[in-house]
Symmetry: D2
């Protein structure tokens, strides 16, 4: 989960690498499905490495969908679809921050989802730790993020 | 789309065959994802023939999900998820009839989706034709249903 | 619940009278909230007689909302809001028929809501009775509809 | 918007006062509708002062609903209903903070809603200002909050 239009080039680059790394593990990338920013980059990274991608789209049609969203769930429920993103994900990785992303983190904490803050600043980490300390894990690289998810899996902590 | 708990053995059998036939075409089966009736049977038919299946689940977790739903979209929006089933489908095939199924047909006609009534009785066909004649196509076999979908594709009528 | 743009003048007139009669009972009118057809007419009837009206709107804003929808719930979930209409209603009265209306009746039967078919033709009644006989009650006038709802209330049958 | 079970006594007290002040203005209080915390207290404050209250409930029934929610919108869409809370509100006042509340603030900023942070700590304000500075207004008392909303209204800034 991360920003669309407002993502920085560095965030997009890391999202691409994260998508690629997820694909190499044989895992599935799920995003909000739009053709911008972290969503688009992560799905491109996965698609370029033979990974499966799911885009959970806000509109009633596929307008604005990323061409890298292989499976397109057309929800027609707008930003309410953020909760579907969270509920459907086994682990939530947060890369970059925007208003929609913040709503997804809130919903993830509410739903007790394992949530990894990748490369987040101290302010963001501190704010969300106040809301659910034990659910928030921080990493600073794609490699550590994959290792963390592998740990969750091996410890049976992912529902 | 079709009944869950109330599906007849004949409907389940045909749903299995339909799922298998869809898989053989390389298409994807999407259902409401639950472990009963037409949903379950169609996804089992597809899974048994190397097809991809998507279950769009009503609950906030996977309880009650079919083991044949390979990709599980956890919506948490109850029967409101019926509209996601419809919007996400390229073609809607209706096999058997129940209250939830009727709601899906209504939503399909509302969304101008190509809708195929497979093996429906005269009463059902007449009722829905009154609501949107030109959108309703009827078939009586899996083979004819696949042929009809192929026609839609070759004529570029599927969004 | 009933058609928007496709409602007949007779349906709109009866919807107005129904809204007025509901208001006189001190009950609340809830509709899909749009500025057309049965929705609009029922809320106008209620508003003109000091009744309270709630419009459950499909869009992310109030565009297309009836001016007679006093309380406007802005859902942003499109036709998925039909299920909110049903779940929120204590009794569902169906007047006229269209694709969206059919989906609401299906959802009402699914949710075990008391559902009154006002002035529906034999085909419609027969189709839905097949899906849930004991939940379907038919009336032919506003007066009988109000009497039927009063009966439901006095028998404690309305949740 | 604010916490349910985790609200502090001080937050509940201020929520009660806010609900009462809103009612005295003739405005409507809308909350998530549950029988806990800030939601419950704000609706009780309004109800005790002849105000109108709307509870937008997450479940498919009224279980857990506040007795002070006069109009109960039964959404059946779980935490996805947070977006309905935001879209339906003319102004969002945030009092206290929890995971669900954070998701609502994110959705409010996303939807460009006027959002007032009442009595929030510096960390919370700083975090959300980073996401949408010009949309965030801070107040420290019920009185100032009402004055701020009145300003929004007189300046025609509320949609």
């Amino acid at each position: 989960m991360g920003p669309g239009e407002n993502a920085t080039p560095e965030e997009n680059e890391m999202a691409y690498d994260l998508g690629a790394a997820i694909a190499k593990q044989g895992w599935v990338v799920l995003t909000g499905g739009r053709s911008f920013g972290v969503m688009d980059a992560a799905m491109k990274g996965a698609s370029d490495h033979n990974g499966l991608t799911i885009g959970v789209l806000p509109r009633e049609d596929t307008k604005g969908a990323s061409m890298h969203a292989q499976i397109r769930i057309i929800t027609g429920i707008g930003s309410a679809r953020n909760n579907i993103n969270i509920l459907t994900s086994h682990v939530v990785v947060v890369l970059g921050m925007a208003a929609g992303t913040a709503s997804e983190v809130g919903l993830a904490l509410k739903a007790n989802k394992k949530t990894i803050f990748l490369n987040q600043d101290a302010l963001t980490i501190e704010f969300f730790k106040k809301l659910g300390t034990y659910k928030v894990v921080t990493t600073n690289s794609v490699k550590d993020t994959i290792a963390q998810i592998s740990d969750f899996i091996s410890m049976g902590q992912i529902r």
